[in-house]
Symmetry: C2
Amino acid sequence: MAPWASPGAPPAQPQRSGVVTVAVDCNGADLGPAEVAAGAAIAARQGARVILFGPAAELGELPPEVQVVDAPVSIAKSADPASAVRATPEASIVQAARAVAQGAAQALVCAGGTGAALAAGTFNIKRAPGIYRPALAIPLPVPDRPVTLLDVGANAECRREHLVQFAFMGAALAQSVLGIARPRVALLSNGEEPERGSALLREAHAELLERTTGGAAPFAFVGNVEGGDVVGGTADVIVTDGLTGNIALKLTEGVSKLMLGAVRDAAMSSPRGRLGGLLLRRALRGFRDELDPEAQGGAYLLGMRRLGVVPHGSFTRKGFAQAILRAERGAREDLVGRTHRALEQAGALKQAPVSARAASLPHTG
Amino acid sequence: MAPWASPGAPPAQPQRSGVVTVAVDCNGADLGPAEVAAGAAIAARQGARVILFGPAAELGELPPEVQVVDAPVSIAKSADPASAVRATPEASIVQAARAVAQGAAQALVCAGGTGAALAAGTFNIKRAPGIYRPALAIPLPVPDRPVTLLDVGANAECRREHLVQFAFMGAALAQSVLGIARPRVALLSNGEEPERGSALLREAHAELLERTTGGAAPFAFVGNVEGGDVVGGTADVIVTDGLTGNIALKLTEGVSKLMLGAVRDAAMSSPRGRLGGLLLRRALRGFRDELDPEAQGGAYLLGMRRLGVVPHGSFTRKGFAQAILRAERGAREDLVGRTHRALEQAGALKQAPVSARAASLPHTG
């Protein structure tokens, strides 16, 4: 099927009661493939079924719910993931993506980086029908006010219709995987007024307003928010282009790290500071736990025919288990179908070119 | 003179030894005009000469270096500063900007918000010759690694040549006002490789590389930096469009506030936490002092025929004094002329349209 594939129903999803299997690429984790396998074992104990793709000899003993496909070849560190995916069919991420494309699994988890996951996903699993561009979404671990930011890097340049679809994709993620019944979705801008921002943002704002009025949309479009609102709790999903989103994400991480480091330095600066830090530690632990990115499972690759989750390479088994459980939940809750139906109802699916539609008529086929 | 004014020498600047006067709009500060006047008095004690524009009756007693022009009308809270500036010639900010335009003062300080300063500045003081767009620059108070970000909101959409000029404008600010001999200037992107980012960024990257190689440029272009580098100390000046810059600035402020709030909450959560906070307070004070935005004077309005400084409306007298001293230093060090010469040498000044150049020839004048 051509990459612009005519809109139609996405592939049938397993029912809630059906069995979901998650294909997991083990290569690329900082702590090695065995740590990912240990995460899979934890997820299996919580009901997940997993197929691991990695160096079988290194993965240790695993429960029966975790199958292993020996795939020692890794392209996780490749500087050009797109070429590596095409040139290395035996790579673990390519095999994992193919397993999802062929129906042996219903979701993909890749510990080997977003570049490889994006390339292997779009090449093998392909874009969902009617979707312009896959996007990367990150639930930011903001205490008391989690927010999902997308796109955080898949598309440095976006058009109006991309941002509009991202709003629906992010909302479906928030609903089906993060458990927010009616997400508040916003556009990231330099002011709350609809006329602020770039021409692109003004166009996307107008179209989102139009496509979500009447209340049929499964989310509330709350308009523009500013940079400070990313951690302000005013929206559950914040939409932006992949360049701005990537900058915002890394800046948030950078400032958090800087501030935590300063508190740590202060607590090491003198005996008095050390005692203060010790006394404060317990009260700060809850806050630090909430900031823990492992609890969010990682980044979500949306807009493909199946859900992909990309835990950070630095995660421990706890984070990998979470990524697998979230991926399983996304498949079980039919994230992809949910996105498709909402976009269809709003009239925001990509239309196939006329020539392609003609080509699919019986008399020409 | 037409707004696109043919490039030429900027207005003569006072010499280092010459006397510099700063025109200050007092209206708009949260603590009232008297707080700004108190800041002017502090700056005067450190050698500054000031003309205050505000409600004379409210400004209190002032040293002889501080003149007062009674200008009680404020447009600081106007929702449409551009129209307000045109419609209200008696407004304090308009009178202050006119004083600079007419040479009674050599720099502008406006406590009444960036919108009003930008409108009054561009309308009265006008763009410097050969400059495409004024820009707003903010020195971010990052402990141990201050960085100046621009544009933070004057231009939501930018072209290549705007970003290129911003690099020179930011570098001149860092040199003349912030005291960095040879600033490292970077572009904000989603990766360090020159091919990352948008088409706009790739074009600006290529042009900056071309215009700064050979070492003649008064700064080092260090290529692309990522969001985390904004607080990472890898560059002294970071250039971006006004939309991304505004988002980055407000996000930085939001995350800092969130983290400081969490530490404060932890220190209030229990007797144990309270004691810890108390013991830690002294060690954290230095860090908090360094984070203090008042020490940076505020935002800098670059690209006009004279320097403008916009302290935040929430500042105390300390911050207003700092804004005045920084404005004075910028005029004394010839920030505007420095920017012009560097752009001229790099061939990056805006060329007047051919018809305008013809119009300025003697036989047509």
